[in-house]
């Protein structure tokens, strides 16, 4: 059984994101990178599936800048068997990313039985790669997955929908499964795991190797800006006897006419 996990490296949730000099992207030099939190559920699910199937292997793939490979190392330390890095700028759009991941999976020489991803990356929040990947590879894909059961290749998948209800899908692998919080509890990498990780194979590819070129770009980033600063709030004093009625009338009128919320 060949299991693939596609992960993305994203800025740490505590990072203060700023546009770069010419506004073409965000400033990436001072960022501390982490594995996209939703991808941790994908790695964990892949490892659980591997543990339940003797001889199964987990390959973890990532598209992005080469300077930091922490996320891939973390996935290997958690227990993945090998890794593929497609070297690229951090500003690829979803279409290019999905195409590059498809190419990486094909270049591995293994046919994918399962492809796990996170449901979205927390940096650009596009929520597109899993579906695009399924489409490109002609595989079924389900996102926002909170329940996963596999009986050989027949799958029972639960996904969360509006209002906390669940949709249940039954279909067969191979498939793309995009994981959500609640699916499992991702493990920590153990120290022996970290030691072993450095000896695990990491295949490095270029965008050309996976047949992705500038012509594949569907979305061009034109300008990154910080959101405008919020104007200072209004304060009202109703401490003095007899002023309450006027203050309440004023606030209600402002909420109705200016903020237009009531």
């Amino acid at each position: 059984m060949n299991i693939f996990v596609c992960i993305k490296q994203v800025p740490d949730t505590e990072t203060k994101v700023t546009p770069n000099g010419d506004g073409s992207f965000i400033e990436t030099n001072s960022i501390k990178w982490i594995m996209n939190p939703y991808d941790e559920f994908a790695v964990e699910q892949a490892l659980l599936l591997k543990a339940a199937n003797a001889g199964a292997t987990v390959t973890v793939a990532r598209v992005g800048a080469v300077k930091d490979t922490e996320s891939l190392r973390t996935a290997l330390a958690m227990g993945a068997d090998d890794a593929i890095l497609v070297e690229a700028e951090d500003n690829l759009d979803s279409y290019m990313t999905a195409k590059a991941l498809k190419g990486a999976i094909e270049k591995s020489g293994k046919s994918a039985d399962f492809i796990f991803t996170g449901k979205q990356a927390i940096d650009d929040d596009c929520l597109q790669v899993p579906q695009l990947l399924g489409q490109m590879m002609n595989l079924p894909s389900v996102s926002v997955v909170v329940g996963f059961e596999a009986n050989d290749t027949s799958l029972t998948i639960k996904r969360e929908i509006e209002g906390g209800a669940l949709e249940i899908y039954e279909f067969s692998a191979p498939a793309v499964i995009a994981c959500n919080k609640g699916l499992n509890t991702p493990r920590y990498a153990s120290l022996p795991g970290i030691m072993k990780a450095k000896k695990k194979p990491l295949l490095q590819l270029s965008l050309a190797d996976v047949s992705v070129s500038a012509e594949d770009r569907r979305i061009v980033y034109t300008d990154f800006q910080l959101p405008p600063e919020k104007p200072a709030g209004k304060t009202f004093s109703a401490m003095e006897e007899g002023t309450q009625q006027n203050v309440v009338s004023e606030v209600v009128s402002l909420l109705r006419n200016e903020a237009k919320v009531i």
Partner: protein, 379 residues
């Protein structure tokens, strides 16, 4: 010279810190309040390989360098200095075996610690002998193939849960440090009497007691090195363990700094966050400087050891500086929190109480200065 972490050390730091922030920090306050020995948490840490990192690979351990071990220790202490005390006490007790044990002893004593979570206790201090370690009174009497132990040990971390004790004693108290010897005692041996758990200012989740040895009989195969070599073993152990204890101070201090930084950016006084008042900025700057200086001293002491170079002086620099800095930083953290800092509802008063012990155990800050002065005046 290179001040950067290796890729592997970066990964170790990330993972242990993540564990510490998610699994230790959220329960640290509760463990302190109820004085709970957190067995499940400890087992969890052991399973991830965060414990007993000094056991060599040939005996089933990870065989980490001291530099790796201090990185791990700092990250664990970030979550709770008390929890780290429990974990570190294992290293402290196992180090004499790693340093002075023969092959058979390492097989017999170290291997079980890699197969299951086990607890060890280091017994040097006595009611009348703390800093003056050469004066210990615990008596070892040779009896054929055995050794009979009599004496009382004080402030023994992990005593109530120990599977194994490493005990320092003397064949003849008149010999001073030349009579000192180190032996391994099975925790289930006849004649071991445990005192009640001590009521402490901090590190409340750790178990601290007196241990009395009454005619405890052990085979001579449990003697580390030879009788009379205990002093050398103890000194070498301290060269290893002082950077480790100092790293605990770095972890606690970093936690205090991070909490203070966050609070100072949220707490509004005179119309702006207190972090925008210069008085608070200067405190934060001092705290940050001291944390980094402590960390560098710890790394230097650990690095020297890994390079096989003398590190006694550097270890004492690290231990004294980091412990004193941790005390100052945690005290300043309480100051920055103001009234809230003095309340148990907030996390910093616990850090201040925990910091105090690091100035005391494993050689007080004053003993470290004696060691340093001795080295300074040599030249």
């Amino acid at each position: 010279m290179d001040f950067s972490y290796t890729d592997e050390q970066k990964e170790i730091r990330e993972q242990v810190l993540k564990f510490s922030k998610n699994e230790i920090l959220p329960i640290a306050q509760e463990l302190d309040t109820h004085e709970t020995f957190p067995l499940d948490l400890l087992k969890n840490a052991w399973q991830l390989g965060f414990v007993n990192t000094s056991i060599p690979a040939e005996y089933g351990g990870v065989g980490f360098k001291t530099l790796d071990s201090v990185i791990i220790s700092e990250c664990l202490a970030y979550g709770c200095m008390g929890v780290n005390t429990i974990l570190m006490a294992n290293d402290l007790a196992l180090l004499p075996i790693v340093i002075a044990g023969n092959h058979e002893q390492k097989e017999r004593f170290l291997k079980p610690f890699t197969e299951d979570y086990k607890i060890a206790a280091f017994c040097l201090t006595e009611p009348g002998h703390g800093s003056d370690a050469a004066g210990v009174k615990t008596h070892f009497k040779e009896d054929g193939a055995d050794l009979i132990i009599n004496g009382e040990k004080m402030w023994i971390t992990n005593a109530g849960f120990a599977d194994l004790f490493v005990v320092y004693g003397t064949i003849d108290a008149k010999l001073g440090h030349k009579g000192l010897s180190a032996v391994v005692v099975d925790g289930k041996s006849q004649g071991i009497k445990l005192g009640k758990p001590e009521k402490k200012m901090g590190h409340k989740c750790s178990d601290t007691r007196s241990v009395t040895f009454e005619n405890v009989r052990i085979p001579k195969e449990n003697i580390l090195g030879n009788l009379g070599e205990g002093w050398a073993i103890a000194m070498k152990t301290l060269d290893h363990s002082r950077p480790l204890v100092a790293s605990s101070a770095v972890g606690g201090a970093q936690c205090a700094l991070d909490l203070s930084k966050k609070y100072a950016q949220e707490r509004i006084q005179f119309g702006k966050p207190i972090a925008q008042h210069q008085a608070i900025q200067f405190m934060l700057a001092d705290m940050a400087m001291k944390v980094e200086a402590s960390r560098l001293l710890v790394f230097k002491a650990a690095w020297l050891l890994d390079e096989g170079k003398p590190n006694t002086e550097a270890s004492s620099y690290a231990k004294a500086f980091a412990a004193d800095a941790c005390m100052e930083i945690t005290t300043d953290a309480v100051q920055i929190y103001g009234g809230y800092g003095y309340s148990k509802e907030y996390p910093v008063e616990k850090l201040m109480r925990d910091a105090k012990l690091i100035q005391i155990y494993e050689g007080t800050s004053q003993i470290q200065r004696l060691v340093i002065a001795r080295e300074v005046l040599k030249y």
